[in-house]
């Protein structure tokens, strides 16, 4: 039995629209131009602030997802026209584009993949009147970083760069472009296979969390000193204890003032015999350091060392063959 939604009072219509899930809203917007306009007006009035639009552009995976109350839902996808199967896909043409409506979300077929990616993001952001908050890309989609920067004032919340499934393009160039241009307030995650010669000589941040997850061998001491982040995780690092001594010296002198947590996972294991340099005035302590990392259970370090900054702020550090930890105790200084 049909329900004439357009004959309901405005209050009721708004209530129904506010109940729709993100993918249902996007699908419903393809009903007609007028209905899309109506949805758009509704969202202009009641900005769905709890909805975060994220763009995924990784190889052939080009989607817009919306995160609502921590749950991700695909709302629109762009697929190359070569994947279109006339015998199995039931499509309609809207504005000259072939669109397939699956029960979950619409799929748009495009000849030009970049155009397709831009089209789906523009469509959803325009409909819901909110910015893109998350971006997850592959090496060939470095252009999205600059495109996002130009299309919105607010920076991203979360950004991730993934290494490609086939290593046949220039990682160094795209990585450099991404690191120099990305603006993300909460999280930057980098997992890219750059060459051994790759060096980054720019600044990164400010960001709350920086995770150079599996391939952090390119990170130098200068990089570490120039990262403006609250929590830093570096995986497969080639930093040595003597380099970390340099970093601690920089920190003691007031460098990296926002840093709360640093975790470095050594690529080959490091020899930790000479401990820390004497001038750092590092002392053994039985204090316990805890830090609530975003990727799992809180990290706890015991039987560690204490180092003090010239302004009195202290940090606990620990190091074994595999990992180096540093937890800055900002809260102790303020008490």
């Amino acid at each position: 039995m049909p329900f004439p939604i357009l004959r309901t009072p405005v209050v009721v219509l708004s209530e129904i629209i506010s109940i729709l899930e993100p993918n249902e809203t996007v699908t419903a917007s393809f009903c007609s131009k007028n209905f899309k306009r109506l949805l758009k007006n509704q969202y202009q009035q009641m900005k769905p602030l709890m909805w975060a639009i994220c763009m995924i552009d990784f190889e052939n995976d080009r989607r817009v997802i919306i995160v609502k109350s921590g749950i991700e839902a695909n709302v629109l996808s762009a697929v190359h026209i070569s994947k279109f199967n006339e015998s199995t896909s039931k499509v309609v043409e809207i504005n000259g584009y072939k669109i397939e409506f699956s029960p979950e979300y619409p799929i748009l077929y495009f000849e030009d993949q970049e155009l397709g990616s831009k089209w789906i993001v523009d469509y959803v952001t325009d409909l819901l009147n909110i910015d893109v908050r998350g971006l997850a890309i592959g090496r060939s989609s470095a252009w999205t970083v600059d495109w996002i920067n130009k299309r919105q004032e607010k920076p991203l919340n979360r950004f991730a760069l993934f290494k490609p499934t086939s290593n046949n393009s220039n990682a160094d160039e795209s990585m450099d472009y991404v690191l120099k241009n990305v603006r993300s307030s909460d999280f930057i995650g980098i997992n890219e296979d750059v060459s051994d010669n790759y060096r980054f000589n720019g600044k990164l941040g400010p960001v709350k969390e920086l995770a150079i997850s599996r391939n952090g061998y390119w990170v130098t001491c200068d990089n570490l000193m120039n990262f403006d982040a609250i929590a830093i995780y570096i995986g497969r690092s080639r930093l040595t204890v003597s380099i970390l001594n340099l970093f601690l010296r920089h920190w003691r002198a007031g460098g990296s003032p926002r840093l709360e947590y640093l975790e470095v996972f050594f690529e080959n294991g490091t020899v930790f015999e000479n401990t820390f340099d004497g001038d750092l005035e590092i002392v053994r302590t039985n204090e316990v350091g805890t830090y609530p990392v975003s990727y799992g259970e809180p990290v706890v370090i015991r039987n560690c060392y204490r180092v003090q900054r010239t302004d009195g702020i202290m940090a606990l550090v620990d190091c074994d063959r595999q990992r180096f930890y540093m937890i800055v105790q900002h809260e102790k200084a303020s008490h």
Partner: protein
């Protein structure tokens, strides 16, 4: 008495010293009001059940009717069909004095009545029931394509919208021409 017991007894809330509620304050008899819809069938509803409707609650809150007065003055809701009002009254009775659950299984199942029910509930300002109804309307399009949504929600296609717009313009043009002619006639 051990120290633990002392501690426990001092921390625990004091024993109630007042007599049971029924003895302390005589129970106020529940007041009833009467409503009818388009079909003039009168429904007797308690004030407690009617609290769900902000509209009716606002109307009765300062009336102070006696049972006889209430019976003699049923609230007329001429814009609501009798069977719809019955559904609303039933729902209010079922949820009288109870916190409304997040999902309601007592909603009327007849989909063909949903539109009229939504209008009535909106008019009577029964917020919780309106939310349930709206959820049901939203659920109708879960997993559906735009074509199916158009059918379910009776949304005109672009072509139908354009045709309706043309028709409206044509009518407006005719009306304007008619008015001009009438004005010219008046002037003569």
């Amino acid at each position: 008495m051990s120290s633990t017991e002392q501690g426990t007894s001092s921390a625990a809330p004091a024993e109630p010293t007042t007599a049971p509620e029924s003895a302390a304050a005589p129970e106020v008899p529940e007041s009833f009001y009467y409503v009818h819809g388009k079909d003039k069938v009168v429904h007797k509803v308690s004030a407690g059940a009617l609290q769900h409707s902000a509209l009716i609650h606002g109307m009765i809150s300062n009336l102070g009717y006696t049972e006889e007065q209430a019976k003699a003055n049923p609230f007329p809701f001429e814009n609501i069909d009798g069977d719809i009002l019955q559904m609303v009254v039933d729902w209010c009775n079922q949820h009288k004095g109870k916190p409304t659950p997040p999902e309601d299984t007592n909603l009327p199942k007849q989909k063909e009545k949903l539109f009229d029910l939504v209008l009535a509930v909106n008019y009577l300002e029964i917020k919780e029931l309106l939310t349930y109804c709206c959820k049901q309307v939203a659920m109708m399009v879960k997993g559906k394509s735009p074509e199916e949504i158009r059918e379910i929600w009776m949304i005109p296609t672009d072509a139908e919208d354009e045709a309706a717009e043309k028709e409206a313009k044509k009518r407006a043009g005719k009306e304007a021409a008619g008015e001009t002619a009438a004005a010219a006639g008046d002037a003569k």
